[in-house]
Symmetry: C2
Subunit: 465 residues, 2 copies
């Protein structure tokens, strides 16, 4: 049956082909107004951000029923596609037949009045039918595809890193524990410890916080790879920027240093933004008009800038020289706070900025040590309006240096046996970065809460739908 | 630095452009043989299934070192690309300089002798460097992209369904429990039950077994959507076809019935197979030659067949009429076993077969009830060599019928409040199916164990790497 119905998108895009012809569409009533003798329906069929206006009159045999339909009822419409002149929409359908597929109810909560985003989160099963969320989730879909297309066109291998992990290898903080044990009766060993030997995996298991270490395995076989999958943080932080479950993209490239890494990140971000601007112009117009009036200016600035590259040491100097009073004072060795990051990218450069070569003590063990013995080949990408959006590094490819760092940071050498072996059997210069997918969706839409760019967000005390 | 090195893929694909020119490549030594005055290296750089032959002689200043390099050492090679005549490879590089990037070790376990697949699983950090696994994981990557491309080209929205769920909504069996409680000291309520109110999500949380119900939410807003993400089963079954973590594709289409659903599944499967055959010809040749000699024949049969469509009732009749003796006897009402499914698709039709309209008692609550009150609008797609590869249905869109089924199956109505509301606010005919991603990879490669098509498989007692 689906083939019978032309999509609204098709009718807009190829209207010349259909004007004056009989067409059938199927969709949901977004708004309706009627009078005694005729009525208008704004129909959305999900294929396109814009609605199709349906005009009908008392010649419809079920005229009275149609004019009383509640918002969100689904209908099948037959009629002629007609060019409108001077109207805000270029075409409309003059209906000759309207069949009710699913009548809605007057208690439908998404009435025309404006709802708060907070309220809409409580009806996550209906909010994709609103303008805002239909735009957000279509952009999310297109951005995801753009990422795949960007890497596949460059012959990267999409590597599925595991979600369930046997150990907290990245040491990135609180993880979700996974078990099939009966929590009412947890088996114990003789000395009173939890006996994981009978748990599903025979040992402790957690949800991954990063696929990077696995991606390195793949990069040392396939040269260039990327992951794109869900990652997890069991952090009890209720901010607009943190979710317990989010998607991450982690490219990893071999025979490639930090310069290559920065070039890749820059190219990728520009590509994704351009792809979405080209493929979701209606949605992006909506965001620019109703969510964030500076959006186009900001995105165009990113797309048309050469990203700046400075060292951490230089960044600290610039921040100190600026004389600006920060909440957290700046000195060499400190971690850069969002206020510092934003000052650099917004005030000093008004462009995206890569900051590189951070002090080793504020970065992870796997980052490549510089000759100075104090800094590592890390990079963070800072963008105006947000701060950090990408974090990456050249990886420590030298077996002995890596082993020293693992010991120095009191990590358990045995947990890293295979990671170390990668440095034993044909190691090579390699680099990679991570991009939080939701971060870039927020950046491209102007939505300010991560809960509003994930269809069914998971946060502390919240796993509804 | 990466731009300095031309990929082996590029050298093969555009060899005319490079023959006679100086080129630089970087890669790993797959095999090497040398004599007193010259040597050969089969170099793989990860960009391409095939190796590049490097020829060098004693004019290299480090000739002696190079000729002693262990397998899997990484090297940077400069030299001239030369056309070879009558050799099995069309080009080779006559090296003028070879720099050792990372010397391997003679203990490298992937030596030339053949290893068992079981052994290779224990070195999952190195097996992607073997021919078999380099082919498998590249095909996996291309197939994943083909799925995205198929749906995006048709304007489907990629919907991210949640991994963490608050309830076992599909009732699909054993789930992994998720917690941040201290398992040594689980909080209890006054009446001695586990107090989930202080757990991370404030209630029980599990890993998803299917994104379908969430996908239905999205389909009733966007018309056509698909999910593609990891799903989980805590089943303690150690077979070659079951993993605890696997990826699933779940399209969901609205204003669409079971016929549309079958058409979509057929189109998708043909598209993915064709895409992989076109984009990984070297890998597919390898599988056809070394893993499964009937592979091309089988895949071509699928691509060129019109898939058969029969009802379950008809299938049972045919099985009984066949007179074949099955381990599990067939009668109307029984679930079809793999032996039955394979008999239908291999012996009766020698083509892919959709079986539809199963008895309601062996299918899920959400499938649309037929007029007969006994069967539901389910479909399974059976393919030669495997049996079931896709399962789907038209969904019950009638609120009251769905509610009756929920009660009849003793499910908790409250758990489905939003799922039921979808049928209240503009319900519509809709359908969808699920495809286990690993199943189709196994089908396309001839690999017979699911552990060998997942880079880092998770199965009972196994969560290594």
């Amino acid at each position: 049956m689906q083939n019978e119905f032309i999509t609204v998108k098709e009718l807009y895009k190829s209207k010349e082909q259909y004007i004056g012809k009989e067409v059938k569409v199927a969709g949901w009533i977004r708004t309706a107004r009627g009078s005694k003798n005729f009525g208008f329906i704004e129909l959305n069929d999900g294929s396109f951000f814009k609605n199709m206006q349906i005009v009908y009159d008392e010649k419809l045999e079920n005229f009275k029923d149609i004019s009383k339909l509640p918002i969100s009822s689904s209908v099948l419409v037959e009629g002629e596609l007609v060019a409108t002149e001077g109207a805000k929409q270029p075409v409309e359908i003059h209906a000759t037949k309207i069949v009710v597929e699913g009548e809605s109810d007057s208690s439908y909560p998404l009435q025309k009045k404006r709802h708060t985003l907070e309220y809409l989160r409580t009806i996550a099963h209906l909010r994709p039918r609103s303008n805002t969320f239909s735009a957000v989730f279509r952009v999310r879909s297109l951005a995801a595809y753009a990422i795949h297309k960007f890497f596949q066109d460059r012959n990267f291998v999409y590597a599925h890193s595991p979600i369930i992990t046997g150990s907290d290898c990245e040491g990135a903080g609180e993880m979700f524990r996974l078990t099939t044990m009966d929590l009412n009766d947890i088996p114990k060993t003789e000395d009173g410890k939890i006996d994981y030997s009978n748990d599903f995996f025979g040992k402790e298991a957690n949800l991954t916080v990063s696929g990077q270490l696995n991606a390195e395995i793949m990069a040392l076989a396939f040269r260039n790879v990327y992951t794109f999958g869900p990652t997890f943080r069991a952090e009890n932080s209720n901010t607009g920027r943190h979710a317990s479950e989010f998607w991450m993209i982690e490219p990893e490239i071999t025979f490639a240093d930090l310069e290559d890494n920065m070039e890749l990140a820059e190219d990728m971000i520009k590509y994704v933004i351009n792809y979405v601007l080209e493929n979701a112009p209606e949605e992006m117009e909506f965001f620019n008009s109703f969510i964030d009036k500076g959006l186009f200016e900001r995105l165009n600035n990113v797309v048309n800038s050469d990203f700046v590259r400075i060292t951490y040491t230089k960044a600290v100097e610039l921040l100190i020289e600026s004389g600006h009073e920060f909440e957290y004072p700046v000195e060499w060795g400190c971690d850069l706070q969002t206020e510092h990051e934003r000052y650099i990218t917004e005030q000093i450069y008004n462009a995206p900025v890569f900051v590189t070569d951070y002090p080793k003590d504020i970065k992870a063990f796997y980052m490549r040590m510089n000759e100075d013995g104090k800094t590592v080949r890390a990079m963070d990408l800072l963008v105006p309006g947000v701060g950090e959006i990408v974090g990456g590094s050249q990886r420590e490819e030298r077996h002995d240096v890596l082993l020293d760092r693992i010991k120095e940071m009191n990590l358990n050498e045995e947990d890293y046996w295979w990671y170390l072996e990668l440095r034993k059997f044909g190691t090579a210069t390699h680099s990679g970065f991570g991009l939080g997918f939701e971060r870039i969706i927020m950046y491209m839409t102007g939505m300010s809460n991560i809960r509003d760019v994930i269809p069914f967000p998971r946060t502390p005390k919240n796993a509804e739908f």
